[in-house]
């Protein structure tokens, strides 16, 4: 083998095994799912490919409520994560001093306790006879029979809680990179602190806002643990429907159609969001 062909083959030798794994267990399943979504039949006799495009129409019109809810809950949670996470990341990056790495450690530490278990802990915190509910009832934020658990608020609070570190960390990384001299220059040139914040800090933090929003919104859209543990069927999101269709009802074509629609929606969403924020290189910004 000539040196030249060896040179050309070498990278593929490195990439090959991993790429093969992804082709077999990521790309092929997605394509297969597209074909399953066009099948008709029933769990007893099995399903056949009949190019039933109406599956999509049926699935979307039947579950448009859950779809809308997923987008709404994920959107509100992402916004809340940004509101809670930005000052936290800002403080850590600029004012934390020698506490910086300690705060970062605190932000990632909850990850090392089971996600499901922490959500179960929220059940306990928000339960009807818990302190939070009785406090809210006393100060009048909740009526005498008002509840927190099994409500929209609980599901959104749970999602916000679970994905906050995914927002805070990319924000921190972006803010940390900002040269403080740029802000000094802005104020020296007679920009007020507000203007400096708006015209220097925020634009430079945009890659972090972009990455953080995606890392929060995408998993939040498909999440079903929070809705299952903190909500009722009235709060179920599209993830709950996909899961029960696949594992309990065994209606694979509809489940596949829903899952495929969710994926498409998110891809289109990422694309539009990237255009909106003017990000040139999608992959670079998100990583």
């Amino acid at each position: 083998m000539s040196l030249n062909t060896r040179r050309k083959l070498l990278p593929w030798l490195f990439i090959g095994p991993g790429l093969l794994w992804l082709l077999l267990f990521f790309l092929y399943p997605l394509l297969n799912q597209a074909s399953v979504s066009l099948m008709t039949g029933n769990p007893e006799q099995g399903y056949d490919l009949t190019w039933a495009f109406h599956n999509y129409w049926d699935a979307i019109s039947e579950y448009k409520e859950q779809f809308g809810r997923s987008i709404l809950y994920a959107g509100v949670s992402t916004l809340l994560c940004l509101i809670i996470g930005f000052p936290l990341a800002y403080f850590t990056a600029f004012h934390a001093g020698r506490w910086k790495s300690f705060i970062l450690l605190l932000i990632i530490l909850p990850f090392f306790m089971s996600y499901v278990l922490r959500t179960v802990a929220w059940q306990l915190i928000l339960s009807d006879d818990g302190t939070v509910v009785s406090f809210f009832r006393t100060i009048g934020l909740l009526g005498d029979d008002g509840r927190l658990l099994a409500s929209r608020t609980a599901v959104i609070a749970g999602i916000t809680y679970n994905f906050l570190p995914f927002m805070a960390l990319p924000l921190y990384v972006a803010l940390e990179k900002i040269d403080p001299r740029l802000l000094e220059a802005a104020t020296d040139l007679y920009a007020s602190r507000t203007t400096a914040f708006r015209k220097v800090t925020v634009p430079l933090a945009l890659p972090g806002i972009f990455a953080g929003s995606l890392l929060t919104f995408i998993p939040a859209c498909g999440d079903f643990i929070n809705a299952a543990l903190l909500g009722t069927p009235q709060q179920y999101m599209i993830g709950n429907v996909i899961q029960s269709k696949f594992l309990n009802i065994l209606d694979y074509p509809q489940a596949a159609a829903l899952s495929f629609t969710l994926m498409l929606f998110i891809l289109v969403g990422i694309f539009l969001y990237a255009r909106l924020l003017g990000t040139r290189n999608l992959t670079e910004a998100a990583i």
Binding site: K8, F91, F111, M113, L117, A121, I218, D223, Q243, Y252
Partner: protein, 293 residues
């Protein structure tokens, strides 16, 4: 959330002149204090459920119901593996995490090296393709994989969970190792080759030691994600139980306090590992400065 008004960043009103004098300094201090308070509240929000889990591992509850505080006991800490199903689920999770991490780290490290080191046709396509699983919701990944196993009549269980975990952790490994490689000085490797080292020797003696911290971080990340995964696992586990599946399944009758004990122990283990790592780094740094003197 009454603190919102005082902390939202654009605090002071529009000014035409640069801040000067005492009032500006007071405002700075207020802004600073507000940010600090906000951060403390945000961290509390992150930690309240963790405290609750730890606290209720000491709860003297009757039966499995562990929702109200009954009194303090070490009972659950005496024998956290009492429930054989729980013990089995935990063992499965550890085994799955170890096996899938080993595979994903090996596959991902080589991919990252090729993506950073070589300019070849199709590189950016591969780059984007590796990024795809990260930008798909887990429920889609899990459902698609299950649909494939069903179509091919493959029984789901331990092996299919490992396959699934490798699939979605390999991208995290690539991203982490790539970040390390991109910050690396190529000249050191070139120097080794100039001095007559073969490509393989250079890789073994120069490249690998240099990227080792990145690879270790990637492996830890992969293991943590695999160990804690519920969504993808729930689709592909069949009859196999894992730690997160066990907890979710137990929510209906009440999660046994032993689960809280095990989760607390794991958290303590991670903390000890981190502390140990910091101490090692510090002593290494001290040794280096002493040498330099």
């Amino acid at each position: 959330m009454s603190a919102v008004t005082e902390v939202t960043p654009p605090a002071p009103a529009e000014e035409t002149a640069p801040p000067s004098g005492g009032s500006a300094r007071t405002r700075d201090r207020l802004r600073h204090g507000g940010l600090a308070l906000w951060s403390v509240l945000a961290l509390l929000y992150l930690f309240i459920p963790v405290f609750i889990v730890v606290l209720f591992s000491f709860n003297d509850n009757q039966g499995r119901f562990n929702f109200t505080w009954q009194g303090f006991t070490f009972r659950h800490w005496a024998d956290p593996f009492a429930d054989p199903d729980l013990a089995k689920a935990l063992t499965n999770s550890v085994e799955i995490a170890l096996i899938s991490t080993a595979i994903a780290t090996a596959l991902g490290t080589f991919m990252a090296m090729a993506l950073v080191r070589y300019r070849f046709r199709g590189r950016s396509t591969v780059d984007f393709f590796v990024f795809m699983p990260l930008s798909s919701p887990e429920v889609v990944l899990g459902a698609a994989l299950l649909a494939m196993f069903l179509t091919l009549n493959i029984n789901t269980g331990f092996v299919t969970v490992v396959i699934a975990h490798v699939m979605f952790t390999v991208s995290y490994v690539v991203v982490t190792v790539k970040a390390r490689l991109e910050g690396m000085d190529r000249h050191i490797e070139e120097a080794a080759m100039d001095l007559g080292a073969t490509e393989w020797t250079t890789f073994r003696k120069v490249t690998l030691p240099m990227i080792a911290p990145g690879v270790a971080a990637a492996a830890m990340l992969a293991a943590a994600i695999s160990f804690d995964d519920y969504v993808i696992t729930s689709f592909n586990a069949g009859q196999t139980q894992t730690f997160p599946l066990f907890i979710f399944g137990a929510t209906r009758q009440g999660v046994p306090a032993e689960v809280n004990v095990l989760a607390t122990m794991l958290l303590l283990g991670v903390l000890l590992l981190m502390a140990g790592n910091v101490l090692i780094q510090k002593s290494l740094a001290r040794r280096d400065t002493m040498r330099a003197d």
